[in-house]
């Protein structure tokens, strides 16, 4: 049995302090295996993004144990978190590309952190990745000159180009129409499967649930998990638009 890539054990999370202190996550428990595609659903305000930022080492874990890529994040230092982030690919709701850089340069930004690569190698890898997301003819376009779906595909290329073991995506299709949303998710899934990367994706879009191996459902800061191959998820887990 392989070591899970994410292992969450009794994680609580609070926002605010003193009288205003409010618990958002309640004793979260979950594991994600390497190469697994997990979709997280749940009503607005249930704490999905909060959990994702904890996994992504963008916030510090307050209570419980959270191990990502073998690294314990409880009581971690900023330095450890920065190092861990380099091994995770992020895809945000809005593409968050650097608007001063062309598509290829944006993808290369994810490689600059890996200093052993020459700039030629970086360029080659970025080009290959953009080809894989179907943007071979848009390499030298600025984000402003691309459509929403194209921008999100550049963001996928950026998240995956360094072959991260884990990709975190928060509503990557929210800004896209049905067709391009579907395309983007399929590209993501197939590239991640090719590279053996695990994906944790938050979505409200129940038309794309079928790309997942497993579904986890968050409600009021508590988590339920459904293996899509063996059991059908209850109606409320998928009926969220």
């Amino acid at each position: 049995m392989t070591e899970p890539i994410i292992s969450i054990d009794r994680v609580n999370h609070y926002f605010g302090s003193g009288n205003l202190k409010k618990q958002i996550l309640f004793s979260i428990h979950a594991d994600v295996d390497p190469g697994e595609v997990v979709i997280m659903t749940g009503p607005s305000g249930s704490g999905k993004t909060t959990l994702l930022t904890l996994i992504g080492a963008l916030r510090s874990t307050q209570e419980g144990s959270l191990k990502v890529l073998g690294e314990e994040l409880r009581n971690s230092t900023e330095k450890q978190r920065v190092a861990l982030r380099r091994n995770i690919g992020y895809i945000f709701q809005s593409h968050n590309l650097l608007k001063s850089l062309k598509a290829k340069q944006n993808v290369m930004m994810a490689l600059e952190l890996h200093t052993h690569l020459s700039s030629q190698e970086q360029a080659d890898m970025a080009e290959e990745m953009l080809k894989a997301v179907g943007l071979e003819d848009r390499m030298n376009y600025y984000p402003d000159e691309l459509s929403g779906g194209q921008k999100q595909r550049v963001a996928i290329a950026r998240a995956l180009v360094s072959n991260p073991k884990l990709v975190l995506a928060d509503e990557p299709t929210a800004a896209l129409d049905k067709k391009s949303g579907r395309d983007v998710v399929e590209i993501m899934r197939s590239l991640a499967k090719d590279r053996g990367s695990a994906i944790v994706m938050v979505t409200h879009d129940n038309r794309i649930l079928d790309v997942a191996d497993r579904l986890i459902h968050m409600e009021d800061g508590e988590l339920e998990s459904y293996d899509l191959e063996t059991q059908a998820p209850p109606e409320r887990a998928i009926a969220l638009g």
């Binding site: 963008l58 982030r85 992020y90 709701q93 590309l97 994810a110």
Partner: protein, 414 residues
Amino acid sequence: MLFAIPLAWLQLKRERMRLFIAIAGIGFAVFLMFVQLGFRDALFNSAIRLHENVNGDIMLISTRSNSLISIQSFPQRRLYGVLGAEGVDKISPIYVGFGLWKNPFWEGLPKSQTRQIMILGIDPNDDVIGVSGFDANARSLIRLEDQIFFDKKSRAEFGPIPAKFSELEKKNELITTEIADRKVTIAGLFELGASFGADGNTITSEANFLRIFTRRDKGDINIGVVKLKEGADLYKTLEAVKKSLPGKYTVNPTLTPSEAREDFVVGEMRVLTKKSFIEVERKYWQNSTAIGFIFTLGTVIGFLVGIIIVYQILYTDVTDHLAEYATLKAMGYKNRYLLKIVFQEALILSIMGYIPGCILASFMYTGTRNATALPLIMTTERSILVLFLAITMCLVSGAIAVRKVQDADPADIF
């Protein structure tokens, strides 16, 4: 560490209009600093130009004199007293006066155009003023009654003297005009240059000087020039000069001991080496007038304006890129990388603003030099100083603007 992607430059380049405004603003600040520093240096350099060209080793002036423009007179017999001192070879008097010069070629309104000019009266036997064009032949010419030499670098308001002089010279004619209502003839031209204190200069013999300034007495001189014997020691001679003058020996308590050796008072006479003679004049303009202060203040204002402009530009730039910076942090970029971006932008802006500012200032220097005869030149030291100030200015702004980078929180972008 070199990056394959020069993000700082690419970000600046992407915002054309902002880059242009930044360059214009920094260029303006650089230009302002060049103007202020240039004028300040020109003022100080022009003020000491005559002093530098006096041929002598020790100078005697009245204790009541502050600067050339307000120089007081003293009796020439004090200078004679020094002649016997050990090490002294020759002595020579200089008379300094200011009188109204009439522009001989004025064609405007019927009233004549007059302007204050400086007149130096010297002993024609002594080579006491070493400026270009004022040679032994010139000294013999000013022996003639009412013959004077005119500084061709004087301001244009004195009339087109240099041009007309060479024109008339071909016809063997000379220009005549008036100084302090005395008819004088321009026998030749020399080259010194206008200063803030004197817009124009003339040199003549002491006899002619006394003809122009009828109220001045012979022997009532302004500067006593002492020349040392070949090989005589300056400090020993100063000691001898000190003994040969009547009255009490005092020094200005604010001077350092080594300065006090070259600048002391005996009775009513102040004894100066040529070096301190120049220094005293420079210090007068620097410290005793508001002029030095005003130009320094102008430079500081230019510097502050620059800081504000660059800060505004950098702050807006960081604010615009905050989400992108947060994304970079989420990707694993360190805070240091982002700070570097801001400082790189500051550095790029300072260099890009410096170049047009410097070029513009050079043009302004040339234009002003031609129009005012002030010695405004783009010196290497000043261009390096201003470059240094421009870079400092941008780095200071960068240091204030980077604090904004801390606001980029990667947890906010999901």
